[in-house]
């Protein structure tokens, strides 16, 4: 085949199966927050590999820089100063970005065929040339990740370096991380690696250390090792139980076919009423003025 993908699991606004004859391994990025030193090398690597340069912002008195994800900044370190117990301050640094959900809300909400695709390996990718700029993906995402560019009205986010992964390389952020807080591999390997890290953290007094791989979105292909796995909100409001909003599920789930059917039935009802009951003719004789 030419340069087309043959391992697509889901494709936005598409009701027939996408090409998925291949079944490659499922990949995952593991972010071990207990090892992160907040150096932002991953942010720089992301900018460099993806050829992005955000506008220089302003200092808002905290380390987060840039202040938020943007169409040009696909990953951002979020710094939380948390007093986990009286007198014990911890600096929790979470690398924020697309979680690559197994059940992606962005893809569910997207009305443009092929603007969002999910590869069998788990990567959720935006194809901006098909994006129409409606922002529906923003309503679908449980993690508030997609950002609409002011320049071109297309939506951007982390690609998990799908271009690098496709040729057997690790994502740029993984490549550059100096502490080994970021690792990349098959999803199974990453879960096993996390288990080792969690056992280690538990030995060191973090009784609630846990893997963040939320079931509500079918698991994610970007996972965290959290020292305080029972309180993900401590990490810059990481949602405890993320799931696609029921409103979005209603809208792009059952309502979409049922309401379309309803309109079709109304038109048919009119047509069949006409050919059975017939029109209302003016029966009376025309009057003379």
């Amino acid at each position: 085949m030419a340069l087309q993908s043959l391992d697509i699991k889901a494709r936005s606004a598409t009701t027939t199966p996408p090409p998925r004859v291949r079944d490659p391994i499922h990949v995952a990025k593991l972010i071990d927050i207990s090892k992160c030193i907040g150096c932002k090398a991953c942010q720089v690597a992301c900018m460099e590999w993806n050829d992005l340069r955000d506008e220089v912002g302003t200092n808002t008195g905290i380390y987060d820089n840039p202040r938020d994800l943007t169409a040009q900044s696909w990953t951002v370190m979020r710094f939380s100063e948390v007093e986990v117990e009286q007198g014990r301050l911890e600096w929790l640094i979470r690398k924020d970005g697309c979680m690559h959900c197994e059940d992606p809300g962005c893809l569910k909400a997207c009305p443009a065929p092929g603007a969002i695709v999910q590869s069998v390996n788990g990567i959720v990718d935006f194809h901006q040339e098909h994006c129409i700029g409606c922002g529906y993906c923003i309503t679908g995402c449980p993690f508030d990740i997609p950002r609409l560019s002011k320049k071109d009205s297309k939506v951007y986010k982390c690609t998990l370096c799908s271009d690098r992964v496709a040729v057997g390389m690790e994502p740029a952020c993984i490549k550059t991380c100096p502490t080994g807080a970021l690792v990349f591999g098959t999803k199974g390997d990453m879960i096993r690696h996390a288990e080792g890290r969690i056992a280690d953290l538990k030995e060191r007094g973090y009784a609630n250390a846990a893997l963040y791989n939320p079931e509500g979105v079918g698991g994610t292909h970007v996972m965290y090792v959290l020292q305080h796995g029972d309180q993900p909100e401590l990490y810059a409001n990481l949602p405890k139980d993320p799931h696609i909003s029921p409103l979005v599920s209603l809208w792009k789930g059952i309502a979409k076919p049922l309401m379309s059917l309803g309109i079709g039935l109304a038109v048919f009802a009119g047509f069949f009423h006409f050919v059975t009951a017939g029109p209302k003719e003016v029966e009376e004789e025309e009057e003379r003025p």
């Binding site: 009305p111 309503t139 409103l247 309803g262 029966e283």
Partner: protein, 205 residues
């Protein structure tokens, strides 16, 4: 040539048709973004991004011109006790058994219901549409509100489309009706049969 009675002025007719054309364009572009089965309709508007750009502006045109209709037709669409009786006999109306129906004024109860459905749904569409309008307004609203707005917008649009399907069909079904909006006049016999109270008001008979 039978006697004709003026039903709509040229201004009212033009206004109605601006709303109608805007409705068709907003409806087709809206459906294109609602279900993938209708995405091909984006071709009518110059592709996906143009459909997304044009749809809200078409909607605003529809809203503004409908507001003029709403104000002008408001008084004529107040429900009367006779409308209740008419609604009870809706089965007979559908089966074309119109004998002994309560006399209708300029509008019968069915037309009034449609009027009020539009009076509610069109402003709801405008407000919910502004909330999700990218890139101008949506960034100012929280994502939770955007989620409510997309569902409300789809629901209001659906109710409106169903209402218009009934509206268009009723105009075809009741012979002699369409010319009220194309030429502005209806035959005296039509008025006498379908809107007798209005007929008497217009002719003094």
């Amino acid at each position: 040539m039978s006697t004709m009675i003026q039903r709509y002025t040229a201004r009212e007719r033009s206004n109605h048709w601006v709303v109608a054309i805007a409705f068709i364009l907003a409806g087709l572009s809206g459906l294109a973004l609602f279900h993938p089965a209708f995405f091909f309709l984006t071709n009518l508007f110059g592709g996906g991004p143009w459909t997304r750009i044009l749809h809200p502006f078409i909607g605003v045109v529809m809203f503004l011109f409908f507001m003029v209709i709403a104000v002008q037709f408001w008084g004529r669409n107040r429900f009367t006790p006779a409308d209740r009786e008419w609604r009870k006999r809706i089965g007979d109306v559908v089966r074309n058994r119109d004998q002994g129906l309560p006399e209708a004024g300029k509008y019968n109860a069915g037309q009034k219901i449609l009027f009020w459905v539009m009076v509610v749904s069109i402003p709801v569409l405008l407000i919910s549409g502004i909330v999700v309008w990218q890139p101008w307004f949506a960034p100012f609203f929280p994502i939770g509100l955007l989620r409510v707005a997309v569902v409300v917008h789809a629901l209001a649009a659906w109710i409106m489309i169903l209402g218009i399907v009934v509206h268009v069909y009723a105009a075809i079904w009741v012979k002699g009706t369409v010319r009220a909006m194309t030429r502005g006049t209806v035959s005296a016999a039509w008025a006498k049969q379908h809107h007798r109270a209005w007929y008497r008001e217009m002719t003094g008979k």
